[in-house]
């Protein structure tokens, strides 16, 4: 009985962890590469949730896409949010980051950037509130209430249940993360993004348009957050202020994984998912987020370079 419970919790942790992992990868692109503390990341995720909901409900004909509609909708939301993120950085955020701010001292420029993303977050949250109301909504899919049953071999009565929607989500998240790692590691554009992150000045001397590289990184980070949100909305209801709960999870995962490391961020998010779910075995369920915060603060204090990262080059 206990084994069954632990396994079931582990499965829940892994499936949540995959989504958190993808969310963290999105933030790592922005926070890790550009060193922008983006407060609005959770709200960009919220945008993805509404967008996917809208697309799945009104755009995709269910006769063609059937049960796949919610997942396709999440993926379609990605490119739209890429454009949004690219423009957001180009028109607003980049005015307060590194390259264009020379007159301000570093501390002041830092504060300006921080407060700007806070402003964007407030506008997105409350804009959504005004336009869409505050009732939580989610995509209705039969997949989110059915499960595959995996019998446990040691007796005939025990089994672990895999929620279908969550399992499909987890697979998509792993595939997307893997694809993104490949892109960052091996593609020419991915390498340029890394070069621009490691040493912007030298990247300029190579002829890399560093400002554009930052727009792309921000766009990608936004798209990833949006897709993860779109997948999440299949079983987690969206309301305008949903992002707040996730921002802390994302930062916790990124710091855990080591700032600047996209693969580390995935494992950081995964760890957060596992801690959150496994903590319910020993703690009241209301305190599962407290467990995350405790882990987060402990990691910051004991090992700020993260659990999975190399030694951070600048602390």
């Amino acid at each position: 009985m206990l084994v069954e419970q632990i396994l079931q919790t582990l499965v829940a942790g892994l499936s949540v962890g995959c989504i958190y992992g993808l969310l963290c990868v999105g933030l790592a692109l922005i926070f890790g590469i550009m060193r922008v503390i983006n407060f609005a990341q959770g709200d960009l995720m919220m945008l993805g949730m509404y967008l996917a909901l809208f697309i799945a409900t009104f755009v995709l004909p269910s006769t063609i896409f059937g049960l796949a509609a919610p997942f396709v909708a999440a993926l379609v939301a990605g490119p739209l949010l890429f454009v949004a993120g690219y423009l957001l950085n180009k028109l607003l955020i980049s005015r307060t980051t590194g390259l264009s701010v020379s007159g301000l001292s570093e501390g002041d420029a830092h504060q300006a950037q921080l407060i700007l993303t806070l402003g964007v977050a407030l506008v997105l949250q409350n804009g959504a509130h005004i336009l869409l109301g505050s009732n939580p909504v989610s995509i209705v899919s039969p997949l989110s209430s059915t499960a595959w049953e995996i019998p446990l071999l040691y007796d005939d009565f025990s089994a672990v249940f895999l929620n279908k929607a969550r399992t499909i989500n987890a697979v998509i998240c792993i595939a997307l993360s893997a694809g993104l790692f490949w892109f960052i590691r091996n593609s020419r554009l991915g390498k340029s993004l890394r070069a621009a992150a490691v040493n912007p000045e030298a990247a300029l001397y190579m002829g890399i348009d560093v400002a554009r590289a930052h727009h792309i990184a921000f766009g990608l980070g936004t798209a990833i957050a949006g897709i993860a949100g779109g997948l999440l909305v299949i079983y987690y209801p969206v309301q305008p202020h949903v992002g707040v709960d996730f921002v802390i999870i994302m930062y916790a995962g990124v710091v855990l994984g080591g700032i600047g490391s996209t693969s580390g961020a995935f494992w950081g998010g995964m760890t957060i998912g596992l801690v959150q779910q496994m903590s319910t075995l020993v703690m009241p369920i209301q305190l599962q987020n407290t467990a995350i915060f405790i882990v987060f603060i402990l990691v910051l204090l004991v090992r700020p370079q993260g659990l999975f990262g190399r030694v951070a080059e600048r602390a």
Partner: protein
């Protein structure tokens, strides 16, 4: 004198605003507007508390709601379960806030910059979960009809307005006392550069802790008052991200690091958003947050440091234009006396003894086995080509970097392994390669940050700062903002600030960088006058030019090791020095020629 008059003027303006606010509050009958008028001072106190920590020290707190909420719940719980009067409950909340500030600050100050900010984000969110788990989803203050005054439950709502304004008055006085004081200036120094502050003798950890405790206590008090006014609180309403955001936004909108910032931000943004919420809230829910968001975006784009600083810059520029038209009398400073050399005291015993210090970074031997000594009253130049390890050596001397091996002895005391602030207080001062003046402060205030370290008494510190301005010839510019100085004046300011700490040994990091030839001569004369004031000098420079006529003795480094040392004439004729500077082949050519 002028300082006091300015302070009086500020007080009068603030008092007038308070009076006007109170007047409006007493007249207004609409109960919603009364609530808003009461909440504005409370949010202003929270913003002031945020400013005291984050605005001055630059350590951004994303989690001030933690303290606000603790204060709010302390008061609520103390009435509901302990039947305690708020007259005790409010001080209790203040105390809880202070303790929480210390408890959170102690571990968190090990973190810097982004990491600190992020860690602060977690605390209030953790509190929400804990309080909800404890079954405190909603806490209402019970009505005490039998003894309303004892429980501070006034039939006339205007009493709360008076209380809120009274708290704001207290916060304002605290804030005003911090601005430009030892406390405020130390925090600003930390904001500018924590390492440099530490090197200037400021015990950064202690000042940060003080700021945190004071700030948290104020925030908790504001929270307690908030509970009394709104009567019902939930964990989300007092610990929520919106509360932390509000503290930040109001301050940053008005201008961080100034007394005026939180007041301006609160006076404009809170009524504006509340008014819109009252008028349009029923058709456009969330309009309040929208206003905050849009206001922030515009401020960042148009006045990224906040409204106060932008206004002040505009006014300063206008004043500057007027001043430019008037003939400048202060420009002709008397050059420091050339007679300084005549007055030089004889060279004394060894004051600094460096024995076999080494420092390795990764595989790079930045400094290896360097030994030399400096005698009291000497002027010694440390020179060497780029990458020779000069700056690392300086960092080893004043404790910014710990040596892997070797010892540093200053005035017969082993100071190896001491903190920079302790070494500074022991009598080793330092200037930095890039002049780090506080552009927003006056010249005098800049120098005072250095003087506070050596003078326990504030009045003495200010007097010492003025004296040092006299010494370097900047007395006429004492009340000018440092941001308006020329590069020559900035160098002099830097020197005055270091001297104000009463060092026995002064480490100068490239004091001549960026100076023209006459300015260089002036600076050299000044440096040569220092031994007569009881200051021994060690200078780093890579241009040897000006140095040969400045120093008594050179210590030459190359590839992290001591190459040679000796008088300027000896050193410049030394083939090894020529090789290090001009290249091996050059030495060969000249030897052959």
């Amino acid at each position: 004198m002028q300082d006091n008059r300015a302070r009086l003027k500020t007080l009068l303006i603030v008092a007038a605003v308070f009076a006007a606010w109170l007047g409006v509050g007493l007249v207004v009958t609409n109960s919603y507007y009364r609530l808003v008028l009461t909440l504005v001072p409370i949010w202003a106190v929270l913003a002031i508390s945020w400013n005291l920590l984050s605005g001055y020290s630059g350590l951004v707190s994303f989690g001030h709601a933690a303290f606000f909420g603790l204060g709010a719940f302390t008061l609520g719980l103390s009435i509901k379960f302990l039947d305690l009067t708020p007259w005790f409950g409010i001080p209790l909340a203040t105390l809880v806030g202070a303790v929480a500030g210390a408890a959170i600050g102690y571990p968190s100050f090990r973190l810097r910059g982004t990491y600190f900010a992020l860690s602060m984000l977690a605390y209030p969110l953790a509190f929400i979960a804990v309080f909800e788990w404890m079954g405190l989803q909603e806490l209402a203050i019970p009505m005490k009809r039998d003894a309303p005054l004892w429980y501070a439950q006034f039939p006339d709502f205007r009493a709360y307005l008076v209380m809120a304004l009274a708290l704001l008055a207290v916060a304002t006085v605290i804030s005003l006392r911090v601005e430009g004081s030892r406390f405020g200036l130390s925090l600003l120094a930390i904001k500018q550069n924590e390492l440099a502050a530490e090197a200037a003798g400021i015990d950064t950890f202690r000042w940060k802790m003080r700021a945190m405790v004071l700030s948290a206590a104020l925030a908790a008090t504001a929270g307690a008052l908030y509970t009394m006014v709104v009567l019902v609180i939930t964990p989300a309403s007092v610990f929520g991200v919106v509360v932390s955001a509000q503290a930040m936004v109001l301050t940053l909108f008005g201008g961080a690091g100034t007394f005026w910032g939180p007041l301006i931000g609160s006076a404009i943004l809170v009524p504006l958003s509340e008014f819109l919420n009252a008028e349009l809230g029923h058709i456009l829910p969330g309009i309040q947050g929208m206003v905050y968001g849009i206001a922030i975006i515009f401020v960042v784009l148009l006045a990224p440091e906040g409204i106060y600083w932008r206004l002040r810059d505009v006014l300063a520029r206008r004043a500057g234009r007027r001043a430019a038209e008037a003939p400048i009398a202060a420009a002709a400073e008397p050059a420091p006396a050339q007679v300084a050399d005549v007055l030089r005291p004889p060279i004394g015993p060894v004051i600094l003894d460096v024995r076999g210090v080494s420092k390795t970074y990764g595989g790079l031997k930045a400094v290896q086995q360097v030994s030399f000594d400096v005698r009291e009253g000497e002027i010694v130049g440390i020179i060497g080509p780029n990458g020779a390890g000069k700056t690392t050596l300086f960092n080893l001397l004043n404790g910014v970097v710990m040596p892997d091996e070797g010892t540093v002895t200053f005035a017969d005391t082993a100071i190896t392994g001491w903190k920079p602030s302790a070494i500074c207080r022991a009598g080793i001062g330092r200037t930095f390669q890039v002049a780090r003046a506080f552009t927003r402060l006056t010249v005098l205030q800049n120098v005072a940050t250095g003087a506070f370290v050596a003078h326990a008494d504030d009045a003495q510190a200010w007097a010492a700062a003025r004296t040092m301005l006299d010494v370097v010839g900047l007395a006429g510019r004492a009340d000018v903002l440092a941001g308006a100085l020329t590069s020559r004046e900035l160098r002099l300011l830097e020197l005055a600030r270091a001297l104000a700490g009463k060092p026995r040994l002064l480490l100068l990091d490239e004091p001549l960088a960026g100076l023209g030839s006459t300015e260089t001569q002036e600076m050299i004369a000044l440096i040569r006058s220092l031994p007569a004031r009881g200051v021994t000098v060690v200078i780093i420079e890579h241009t040897m030019h000006a140095m040969v006529s400045t120093v008594d003795r050179f210590v030459v480094l190359d590839h992290g090791a001591l190459l040679t040392s000796g008088s300027p004439t000896e050193v410049t004729r030394d083939p090894r020095v020529i090789e290090a500077y001009l290249g091996r082949k050059w030495a060969g050519i000249n030897a052959a020629a």
